[in-house]
Amino acid sequence: MMPMHEDYHLDETVLHGYLDDVLDPTQRSEVEAHIAGCPLCSHRLQELGELFLSLTSLADVPLERDLVPSVMSIIRQRKRYFPVLKFAIATQILTVGFLFIWPHMSAAIDEIIASPLTTRFTAETIGVFTNVSRIWSVVLDALTGFLTRGLINLRNVPSFSWPVLDEWLVVVVMVVIWLVGNGLLLRVTQSDRRSRLHQDVVE
């Protein structure tokens, strides 16, 4: 039985369903039979049909500029810089990861150094990195505290016996890698932006 208005007219959902083609064959037949004998519902259905037609026959708006050059330019740009970007991001992650995670791994590091399987070179290398991370922790403490407390902390930095060149070399190399990574990231970002702006100007 079809849903009807109290004056025996078709319900709105039925009209929509009819035009959306979601009614079963029996329901469609009932609708068509009612429409044939009801001017009001016929008019309502016609109006709804005109709305549907207005939407489905909506013409496309012409595109004012050709997107092909800008799309292809950006794709080429990103392909060229993607390996560089990956390297830059990797340097950031490794640097930050090393500086913040290494100090928390002291127990594991001691075990590795003490292990008979660890070669002397490996143990010395691990020792260098451990000292570097200790330097970093001290610098961090000095920076995060108040100025006077920071100065006191700096004065209390344990002195390292020479050769300390290894530790400082590692620090310098890490700073350089960090700066290079940042520089590459900045360059990739600016190149992408310049490419988009250039396309805008050309268009």
Binding site: L48, E50, D60, V61, L63, L67, V68
Partner: protein, 167 residues
């Protein structure tokens, strides 16, 4: 890559129009259409070559537009499916063409005048040919809500377009 350039050339108008129906602003629509193609290029490996490229491409554009609208209004749904609609070709004289353009602008303005949720449902039903159930799944909305929103949106459109009380 040249082949992809050819795809961009072939589908840029339809993709642009998907964006334009959502946003109603040419510059923004061009930018989103451009971004849609770039995303499509990155996801080319996921494209099923047995299926037509157009609906897949327009789906990406529609998802981008929905995300764009979501940043400005609280929406949280993605378009999952779009069917390829039959192309309509017509031959008409200049006057008829002019009338069609005027009429299209009126219709387009009426669509853009809808609240964005209604606009999206109208777009999915009438321009991407999704069923009620597909819209419900795509928008994560109960079926009854889809129907009531759709009917209400149509009522609003009819009122704007035909200037009389549609009931």
């Amino acid at each position: 890559m040249n082949a992809f350039g050819e795809l961009v050339r072939r589908y840029q108008v339809s993709v642009y129009n998907v964006c334009y129906r959502f946003l109603g602003e040419r510059r923004e629509s061009e930018d989103l259409a451009q971004e849609a193609f770039i995303r499509a290029y990155k996801r080319l490996k996921t494209f099923d070559v047995e299926r037509p490229f157009g609906p897949w491409m327009r789906r990406i554009a529609a998802n981008l537009c929905i995300n764009h609208l979501r940043r400005h209004e609280p929406l949280s749904f993605q378009l999952e499916e779009e069917r390829d609609l039959p192309m309509q070709t017509q031959e008409m004289d200049l006057e008829a063409r002019h009338m069609q353009i005027e009429r299209s602008e009126v219709v387009r303005a009426a669509i853009l005048g809808l609240p964005s949720q209604y606009r999206i449902i109208i777009e999915l039903r009438h321009f991407h040919d999704l069923s009620y159930a597909e819209i419900s799944a795509a928008l994560k909305m109960p079926l009854s809500d889809v129907k009531s929103h759709l009917f209400r949106a149509r009522k609003m459109l009819a009122k704007r377009l035909f200037d009389d009380a549609y009931a």
